[in-house]
């Protein structure tokens, strides 16, 4: 079935006729929470529109790189995409990096309160304005809370001294890890299993559903998990604002409703998977320990202050801290 049924492209929303929406995330694993979220999106959109809006979900098929998905969104080759703050900064909107700061949030409650509240609205506005309406934020998803995992458990910050850690190698995140005494190292995600296995890198950091799915917890350099909880991650659910404005009032409402439902579905799926993945890791022999986060949080504060000053969002940081 090629081509002949494509006459109703998504540009033709104005007349209220049928439209097609291409929704994409970059994870090829069908069990990823992103997939739950977008499938919910599809379900709500299609049922509420009585089938007048068709939604196609791409799980990594039109891009496994977030940068590519952002480009496609801007061009209109994708209508709904999911992006992390790190990749959004590439588009020149440096304020979004706020959400990538280490130890910004201290729990999911805190995180939800912030992104679903005033700060979240403000950030949505910044993204929309700075991108000239190329990007419109319609929901905040999460990719889990990130922890350290490596060849030995961390009981105090001193234990990190000299350890190589696979993490971002530039920006505030890299600066933070350097200050802990560890050495940020660049390893591609696809090669990380082997790198941990063969002692190329001493440790890494990520959220349970992601590194357990890749079996990192079964490697020599990945089996000690210390719950540093340094990043309650934020993901942006974006649509192309210019295209969105062309839809009818009714279509817009349906999309916004669907976005809301997808936010709920994705977060629920993620929280559930996080518990399951942690249990799986423990069952398969990984050792999990908790740690007093206070010294780590203290270390992050001056870096946060400096970073928000450069981004010009000191007020937002204050609001996030006040929400604790």
């Amino acid at each position: 079935g090629c081509g002949s049924d494509e006459s109703a492209g998504s540009g033709s929303g104005k007349d209220g006729g049928k439209i097609k929406i291409v929704a994409a995330h970059n994870q090829t694993d069908p069990d990823n929470p992103y997939q739950d979220g977008l499938l919910k999106f599809k379900e709500v959109v299609e049922s509420k529109s009585d089938g007048n809006i068709e939604l196609e979900v791409h799980a990594g098929t039109i891009g496994t790189e977030e940068s590519e998905l952002v480009e496609k969104l801007k061009l209109g080759a994708a209508d709904v995409v999911l992006v992390s703050p790190g990749f959004m900064t590439q588009t020149g909107i440096k304020e979004v990096d706020l959400f990538a700061l280490p130890y910004l949030f201290d729990s999911y409650d805190h995180w939800e309160q912030v992104v679903d509240g005033e700060v979240g609205d403000k950030m949505a506005k910044i993204i929309n304005e700075k991108s000239n309406n190329d990007f419109k934020l319609i929901g905040y998803w999460s990719a889990g809370v990130r922890h350290y995992y490596g060849k030995k458990p961390i009981n105090s910050m001193d234990d990190l001294k000299g350890l190589t850690i696979r993490t971002q190698t530039s920006g505030v995140v890299a600066d933070y890890w350097k200050q802990t005494g560890s050495v940020p190292t660049d390893v591609a995600w696809g090669e990380l299993y082997q790198a941990l296995q063969q002692d190329v890198v001493d440790s890494a950091e990520n959220a349970y559903p992601y590194f357990v799915q890749q079996n990192h917890h079964t490697t020599d350099n990945g089996k000690y998990i210390t719950e540093t909880g340094h990043d309650y991650t934020t993901r942006f659910l974006l649509v192309n604002g210019n295209k969105f404005d062309e839809y009818t009032e009714e279509q817009r409402q349906i999309i916004l409703d669907a976005a809301e439902a997808s936010v709920k579905a994705e977060r629920e799926a993620l929280y559930k998977q996080e518990d399951e993945a942690k249990q799986k890791a423990i069952d398969e022999g990984a050792k999990v320990n908790e740690i007093d986060r206070q010294p780590f949080i203290e270390l992050a504060k001056p870096l946060q202050d400096k970073a928000v000053k450069e981004m010009g969002v000191e007020d937002l940081l204050q609001k996030i801290r006040d929400a604790k």
Partner: protein, 428 residues
């Protein structure tokens, strides 16, 4: 629409438009037909398709092979191979195969081996009384081992497409590569007895040792590359860079066969060869983009689960399909286009990506000697000054040999994985 695009593809190809451009043109027209995908996706995807760290290994492995040829290291290896297998009947042909296996340990591609070895061995085989057909066929067929024994550019591309580990694929290629070489040597042995091919007198031990010592720095290259990758000392891309640097250093300072003034030409040759295959890759990325909007992966998955339940039928279909594609397309664009389509089905059948990778890479290696687009056969026929038709007829038995080994690996994967599992049990 699909039918129109496929017809257009065939017509443009037949009237002589370069294949990489045919791929690009079809991608552009297909995307023009989908209103919600803007046309500038085509050039964007061409660039994005190249924006991958693993691909950097392609020109680097080509550079290493070019340096081996220019530095006359291939000649050293030929001498050594002759000293080892020369005394067997059909010694020159055996040496041709053995040197290709050694060369394969350095080179990630096959053409450089055909060129380097063919230029020397095809004329000398003829001089010693082999018929041109045999000389051309052995040279072409044995150089396909270059992409089976690691390092291997197609394996790197496959790993990039599927997130499979390059190290595991490389290890998996060793046994099939050696098996193909040995099977060809057995075939040559019987041919040699039948046709009374000449053999060489055994080299004196002293001479043999001297040759071995001289070749030692060159023979070390595969050890550095494979060892480095498997031990995690460097990535595939870095290994390629190290291999080039190492080859450059030994040919300049140990063999003293390379002068600084030779380098620009080597760089130009490297750029030429790599930009040809990588431009085809870029164009294929654009066409692959079009195909992914049609979600062909899901289509294939549905088709196989509804109509074909058996794993072995699926494997045979994959082999037949890539044998066909390989006759008119390079391995790299062929994988870019079709691996994403077959991968979901393969996973559903429980086929390990590493196993799938070996099947696909070896199958596409056959494409190097099947006309019309069989680069190694074309090159070898040109060196031997033999028509494509006669060259192809001569190479058919060797193709059969490769396919037998391929089927063996396809249905008894443990054979290929036995050694790698011993070296590193956790890789699989």
């Amino acid at each position: 629409m699909g039918f129109i695009l496929i017809s257009l593809f065939i017509i443009l190809m037949l009237i002589g438009i370069p294949i990489a451009f045919v791929i690009g043109i079809v991608a552009l027209l297909g995307i023009m037909n989908i209103p919600y995908i803007p046309e500038l996706t085509v050039p964007m995807k061409m660039l994005n398709g190249l924006d991958s760290f693993v691909l950097l290994a392609v020109p680097l492995f080509i550079l290493a092979a070019n340096l081996m040829n220019s530095g006359k290291i291939s000649e050293k290896l030929i001498e050594l191979s002759l000293a080892i297998v020369g005394p067997i009947r059909g010694g020159l042909a055996h040496a041709n195969i053995l040197v290709s296996m050694m060369f394969a340990g350095v080179s990630g591609a096959a053409q450089a081996d055909t060129a380097g070895v063919g230029k020397i061995l095809i004329p000398s085989m003829r001089k010693k009384g082999y018929d041109t057909e045999t000389a051309v066929a052995v040279t072409a067929a044995s150089s396909t081992i270059g992409v089976v024994i690691p390092p291997s550019i197609p394996m790197i591309i496959f790993a990039g497409l599927t997130n499979a580990s390059v190290g595991a694929l490389f290890l998996g290629g060793i046994v099939p590569g050696v098996l193909i070489g040995l099977a060809m040597m057995i075939f040559i042995y019987f041919m040699a007895i039948k046709n009374n091919y000449p053999r060489y007198t055994r080299a004196e031990l002293k001479k043999f040792l001297k040759l071995f010592v001289e070749s030692f720095p060159a023979l070390l290259t595969p050890v550095i590359i494979i060892g480095g990758i498997i031990s995690g000392f460097f990535t595939a891309t870095e290994a390629a860079a190290v291999a080039s640097l190492y080859t450059l250093l030994i040919s300049m300072f140990i063999y003293k066969t390379l002068k600084p003034r030779d380098i620009p030409k080597i760089l130009i040759d490297t750029l030429a060869l790599s930009s040809l295959s990588l431009f085809a890759l870029a164009a294929a990325s654009a066409l692959g983009e079009l195909m992914s909007y049609y979600q062909l992966g899901t289509v294939a998955q549905d088709f196989f689960s509804n109509h074909i339940g058996a794993k072995w039928v699926f494997i045979l279909i994959i082999i037949a399909f890539f044998l066909f594609i390989g006759t008119f397309m390079d391995a790299i664009p062929a994988m870019i286009l079709f691996v994403p389509v077959i991968l979901p089905t393969a996973l559903q059948f429980g086929i390990d990506p590493i196993h799938l990778g070996l099947i696909v890479v070896i199958t596409l290696a056959v494409g190097l000697v099947t006309p019309p687009y069989g680069l190694c056969l074309l090159l070898s026929a040109k060196i031997g000054n033999l028509s494509i038709e006669r060259s192809f007829a001569a190479v058919v038995p060797y193709i059969a040999i490769i396919i037998v080994v391929l089927l063996f690996i396809a249905f008894f994967p443990d054979v290929a994985f036995y050694i790698p599992k011993m070296i590193n049990p956790t890789l699989f």
